[in-house]
């Protein structure tokens, strides 16, 4: 089936795309919403403009849709982007990286239902630890580009998701109830390499900004 990937460039949407491809589907386009609202309810925001570089190494066309990121208006913008994907790339379904967010998942389901296309959520309800281990097993190289919860701080920016990361995040899960896969928005990630990429992306420049337990890393990749 021809699928459009709701794509943020973070681990969830890239891994969902990987699973869809592995199941024999055709990844026809990536759909990225660029939200002006950094606190968007629907869309992952840090480093999102870097999805262009990922689309290039995946050799998949990218649909970029700007949105002001106001609560329900951004859903109209998402619908517009999915309609473009249906018209331009003849997609028959979308694939998302939703894990637990009923808010995000049910809104995407509504849009797909209205547009009469399939909606795939291959990470739905997935156990956090099992998920991170699978990412490592499948050779995903992932960088932390945002932290937004106590006790995470600027020292976590730029870290790779590796065995050490999994061990530490599991401890923080026990103490602070941080979701192991960051599904509560505790941290955001950016994929530098995976089996869908023709070559690994290199970080050319970066700027860290933030305070306390809320930090972002804006990266430039090539």
């Amino acid at each position: 089936m021809k699928l459009g990937v709701l794509f943020s460039g973070g681990k969830d949407s890239v891994y969902a795309a990987y699973l869809a491809k592995k199941a024999g589907h055709n990844l026809s386009c990536l759909i990225t919403l660029i939200s002006k609202n950094k606190e968007s309810y629907m869309f992952h925001t840090p480093s999102i403009e870097k999805t262009k570089a990922q689309a290039k190494v995946m050799k998949i066309p990218l649909i970029e849709q700007k949105t002001k990121g106001e609560k329900e208006k951004e859903l109209k913008d998402l619908e517009k982007a999915i309609k473009t994907a249906i018209e331009k790339y003849k997609i028959e379904g979308v694939v998302t990286g939703a894990i637990e967010s009923v808010y995000q998942a049910s809104r995407v389901q509504e849009i797909c239902n209205k547009l009469n296309i399939e909606c795939f959520n291959p990470l739905w309800q997935k156990d956090g630890e099992e998920y991170l281990e699978e990412l490592l097993k499948n050779k995903f190289k992932i960088m932390i580009v945002g932290v937004f919860a106590e006790p995470l701080n600027e020292n976590w920016l730029g870290r790779a998701i590796d065995e050490k990361f999994i061990k530490e995040i599991k401890e923080l899960h026990k103490k602070y109830k941080i979701h192991i896969a960051g599904e509560g928005g505790e941290f955001e990630s950016f994929v530098l390499n995976c089996p869908l990429f023709e070559k690994e992306l290199e970080v050319k420049k970066f700027v860290d900004s933030g305070k306390g337990n809320s930090w972002r890393k804006e990266v430039e990749v090539r």
């Binding site: 089936m1 199941a23 049910s106 389901q109 909606c119 795939f120 291959p122 739905w124 997935k126």
Partner: protein
């Protein structure tokens, strides 16, 4: 052994509608797609769960013959969403259109495998069955528009229209203990 029957026509959907149920059960289960279901699978199971599928996937409706065994089945059986619709159709119910997507409120008039009173449940369906028209079944919970939880009056055959694997995981564990 618990037999999990997938109603998905796309393998990728099984990660969304079947794997979460396997994770809740944890061990001693076997999963089979309804297209590959045999009498041997049914006979070797202590209990059976028939899972749901995506909003757009109604392929199972064209192959109800694969489920005719349900009418004579005497061990515990749970149908989730598509699974509940299959149970209703096998017992002579009629399918009706009503969309519910997302968290909805369901009112359990009587305790239903640990669920009682007003509960939030996750809905994902375009169709439902009106079980009040099927004399063999009792309705335990309704949402504003649909029957949400039903049980066969004489057998341990349960149906839920909502997806308990999302917000009501304990319910599935309770079924497994029957």
């Amino acid at each position: 052994m618990i037999l999990i029957i997938s109603t998905c026509s796309e393998t990728l959907h099984e990660l969304e509608f079947v794997k979460p149920i396997e994770d809740i059960i944890g061990k001693e289960f076997k999963t089979v797609n309804y297209k590959d279901l045999t009498q041997k699978h049914i006979d070797s199971a202590e209990k059976i769960i028939i899972c749901g599928t995506s909003l757009k996937d109604n392929t199972f409706l064209k192959e109800l013959g694969k489920f005719s065994w349900i009418k004579e089945y005497s061990k515990p059986l749970l149908g989730i969403c598509a699974g509940m619709q299959i149970i209703g159709l096998v017992f002579g119910g009629k399918i009706k259109k009503k969309k519910e997507i997302g968290l909805i409120v369901s009112n359990f008039d009587k305790t239903f495998l640990g669920l009682d009173g007003v509960k939030q449940v996750y809905a994902l369906h375009n169709n439902f069955i009106d079980f009040s028209k099927i004399p063999e079944f009792e309705v335990f919970a309704k949402s504003l528009s649909c029957d949400q939880a039903v049980k066969h009056r004489a057998k341990k055959i349960y149906g839920v229209l909502f997806h308990p694997e999302v917000r009501n995981k304990e319910f599935i564990k309770k079924f497994c203990l029957l």
